[in-house]
C-alpha cells in the first residue's frame, strides 16, 4: 500500500464522487418528496397499479409492493439508486487500471519504486473510500428524507438498515468485476460503454428474469441478489444468492491481482 498513490487516486475521483453522491441524494429526496401527496390516495394508487400489466410491474421490481407503505414506496426508488451505484462502481472498476494504460500514464506510475501489488491495493482502497462516501450519502439521504416526508407513518427500520447494508457488497461486485474484465481485455478504449453495459446489462437481466419468471437469469445478476422488495418484505437476505455475489467478488479480486502482476503494459504505439 502506497499512501502517495492512494491520495492521488482519491483526489482524482473526488469530483466524480461528489457528483454521484449528489445525484443519488437528489433521486431519494425528489422521489420521497412526493410521498406525502401519494400516501393520501394510497388505496387509489394500489388499485391503479393493479391495472398495470404484471410484466411492466415486474420490470420495475414493483411486484408485491404495497405502495402505500413507507418502505414499499422507498423500495421502488431503491432500484434506481442501485442502478446509479452500479454504474458508478463499474465505472471506477473498469477505469482503475485501464485509465493509466489508455492515457498512457502507466509508464510513469510503473517505473516508480512500487510493486504492482502495492499499486493495485492502493488504487482499490482509494476507490473503496470513494464508493463508501456515496454509500454514506445514500444512508444519510434516506434517513433524512424519510424523517422529512414519511408523515410520521411507521416503518420497519431494521428492514431498511438491512437493505442499506447490502449496498457495500453490491458496489463491490460491480467494482471488482469491472477491474477483472478490464484486465482480461487487451485495452479498454473507453470506460463508460463498459460500465453502462455491465450495470444496465445486470439490471436488464433482473428485469427480464422477472418478466419471464426465469430463475436462472436471476442467479447471475446482483440486482436479484439484493432485491429491494425481497429484503424489505422478509427482513432478511436471500443468503444463497448473496453468496454468489461474495464469491464473484473474491474470485474477481484474486483474478485481478493474478492478472495485473503478470500483465505486459502495452506501449504507446
Amino acid at each position: 500500500m502506497s499512501t502517495t498513490i492512494f491520495k492521488h487516486e482519491f483526489r482524482m475521483r473526488l469530483r466524480s464522487v461528489i457528483i454521484w453522491s449528489l445525484a443519488v441524494a437528489a433521486i431519494i429526496f425528489l422521489y420521497l418528496a412526493i410521498y406525502p401527496s401519494f400516501s393520501q390516495d394510497a388505496e387509489l394508487l394500489n388499485e391503479m397499479m393493479a391495472n398495470f400489466p404484471p410484466e411492466l410491474l415486474a420490470a420495475f421490481g414493483m411486484t408485491g409492493i404495497d405502495m402505500a407503505s413507507v418502505l414499499g414506496f422507498y423500495g421502488l426508488i431503491f432500484l434506481f439508486v442501485q442502478i446509479c451505484l452500479a454504474v458508478q462502481a463499474a465505472n471506477y472498476g473498469f477505469g482503475l487500471v485501464s485509465m493509466e494504460e489508455r492515457e498512457l500514464t502507466a509508464d510513469f506510475l510503473l517505473s516508480k519504486p512500487v510493486s504492482r501489488q502495492q499499486i493495485l491495493t492502493s488504487k482499490l482502497l482509494a476507490v473503496l473510500i470513494c464508493l463508501t462516501i456515496t454509500n454514506a450519502v445514500t444512508w444519510i439521504s434516506t434517513f433524512a428524507a424519510l424523517a422529512l416526508f414519511s408523515q410520521g407513518r411507521p416503518y420497519e427500520a431494521r428492514h431498511l438498515v438491512l437493505l442499506l447494508l447490502s449496498i457495500v457488497i453490491f458496489q463491490l461486485v460491480f467494482l471488482t468485476v469491472g477491474v477483472v474484465v478490464s484486465l482480461l481485455v487487451r485495452r479498454v478504449r473507453s470506460v463508460t460503454p463498459y460500465a453502462m453495459a455491465l450495470a444496465f446489462g445486470a439490471y436488464l437481466l433482473g428485469a427480464f428474469s422477472d418478466m419471464l419468471g426465469d430463475v436462472k437469469l436471476e442467479l447471475i445478476t446482483p440486482f436479484k441478489h439484493f432485491d429491494a422488495s425481497y429484503i424489505l418484505q422478509n427482513g432478511a437476505y436471500d443468503l444463497p444468492r448473496v453468496m454468489i455475489s461474495v464469491v464473484a467478488i473474491v474470485a474477481s479480486v484474486m483474478g485481478s491481482y493474478w492478472l495485473y502482476t503478470r500483465r505486459d503494459i502495452p506501449s504507446v504505439t
Binding site: M12, E103, S267
Partner: protein, 290 residues
C-alpha cells in the same frame, strides 16, 4: 559489477517478435548508446528492464539484482524518460512533479526547481495545455529530480528544439560526470555519436554489434573516394569492398580490412584525387541494415 547485465533476454508478444536473445552489459559511469531503427526492439528492451513487461525467457540484473524480483528497490535509483510522454492531463506541472517526487525518499523540491529553470519549464501550467516539446521537458525533469544513479532515456530528444537538445545533452553530461550511468536509446546517430562511450546496435530484435564508439568508427570501415582519368570500378572489386559506386570518373566505396592492399592498388593508378576517411556512424549503421 555491471550496472546493467542482460542475459539472453527474449520477448515475444504472442507470436510477434520483440527482442531475441539479447545480451549486453553496461558498466558504472558509462553512457551506453542503444541504436536501431523504429521497431528494432529498443523500447522493448528498456520496458523489460523496468519490468513494465515481462520476458519470455532470459534474465536481466540491474545493480546486481534481478530486475523483476527486486523491481521496486531497483527503481528507487532509476530515472526513466519514455519515448512518448503522457501525464495526467488535468494536473498542473508542479503537482505532477510533486507526485513523482513523493515516490522517492527525501526532499527533492530544490532540485525540481533547479531543473525546471534550466529547462525553461513553466511549473504553473496544466499538462494538457503544454506543447509536445514542453511535455518532453516535464518528462526530463521528472526523470532527473530524484537524483537517480541510472538513467533510461528512450528517444529523449524528439520534440525538443536544437537549443534545448544542447541544453539537455549538457545536463546529461553533468549527470554522467557525477557518476550517473546512462542508457541512451535513439535512432538518431549523430546524437549517440556526440554523447556515448559505447554503443549497442540492435536490428530486428537482435544485437548485431556492441563496441566502443571509437573502434566502431576507426577499425571497421574506411570511406574511400578515388578520382582518376580512366577507371574501371571492377579494379577495386575485391574482398572487403562494399557499396562500390562509379560516376563521372570518381569511384566511391567502403573498405574493411588491411588498408595497405587498397593503398597499393591506388598507387598503381594515375589518380587526380584520393580521400580516405572515417565513415560517419550513420554510414556504418547503414551497413548493418542492408
Amino acid at each position: 559489477m555491471s550496472i546493467i547485465a542482460v542475459n539472453n533476454l527474449t520477448k515475444y508478444y504472442g507470436k510477434s517478435r520483440g527482442i531475441v536473445d539479447v545480451s549486453f552489459q553496461v558498466e558504472e559511469g558509462e553512457i551506453f548508446g542503444f541504436i536501431g531503427p523504429n521497431g528494432a526492439g529498443k523500447s522493448t528492451t528498456i520496458r523489460l528492464l523496468l519490468s513494465l513487461i515481462y520476458p519470455s525467457s532470459g534474465s536481466a540484473a540491474i545493480f546486481g539484482k534481478d530486475a523483476i524480483q527486486h523491481g521496486p528497490v531497483i527503481r528507487q535509483e532509476i530515472g526513466y524518460l519514455p519515448s512518448e510522454v503522457f501525464y495526467y492531463e488535468r494536473m498542473k506541472v508542479i503537482d505532477l512533479l510533486k507526485y513523482s517526487a513523493s515516490f522517492f525518499p527525501g526532499d527533492h523540491t530544490a532540485r525540481m526547481h533547479e531543473l525546471a529553470e534550466y529547462m525553461e519549464l513553466d511549473l504553473g501550467r496544466r499538462i494538457d495545455d503544454l506543447s509536445y516539446g514542453n511535455k518532453k521537458k516535464v518528462g526530463i525533469v521528472q526523470g532527473l529530480l530524484h537524483r537517480p544513479k541510472l538513467l533510461f532515456l528512450d528517444e529523449p530528444t524528439s520534440g525538443l528544439d536544437p537549443l534545448m537538445q544542447r541544453k539537455f545533452f549538457q545536463l546529461i553530461r553533468e549527470e554522467n560526470q557525477r557518476g550517473v550511468t546512462v542508457f541512451f536509446s535513439s535512432h538518431i546517430l549523430g546524437e549517440v555519436q556526440r554523447l556515448c562511450n559505447r554503443v549497442g546496435i540492435i536490428k530486428e530484435g537482435r544485437i548485431v554489434e556492441i563496441s566502443d564508439i571509437r573502434t566502431l568508427q576507426q577499425n571497421n570501415y574506411k570511406k574511400i573516394r578515388v578520382a582518376a582519368g580512366e577507371l574501371n570500378p571492377a579494379y577495386f572489386a575485391a574482398a572487403g569492398v562494399t557499396d562500390l559506386e562509379h560516376a563521372n570518373g570518381v569511384v566511391r566505396f567502403f573498405f574493411k580490412g588491411d588498408i595497405n592492399t587498397v593503398v597499393q592498388q591506388i598507387s598503381s593508378l594515375n589518380v587526380t584525387d584520393v580521400t580516405i576517411e572515417e565513415p560517419t556512424l550513420e554510414e556504418i549503421f547503414m551497413h548493418y541494415y542492408e
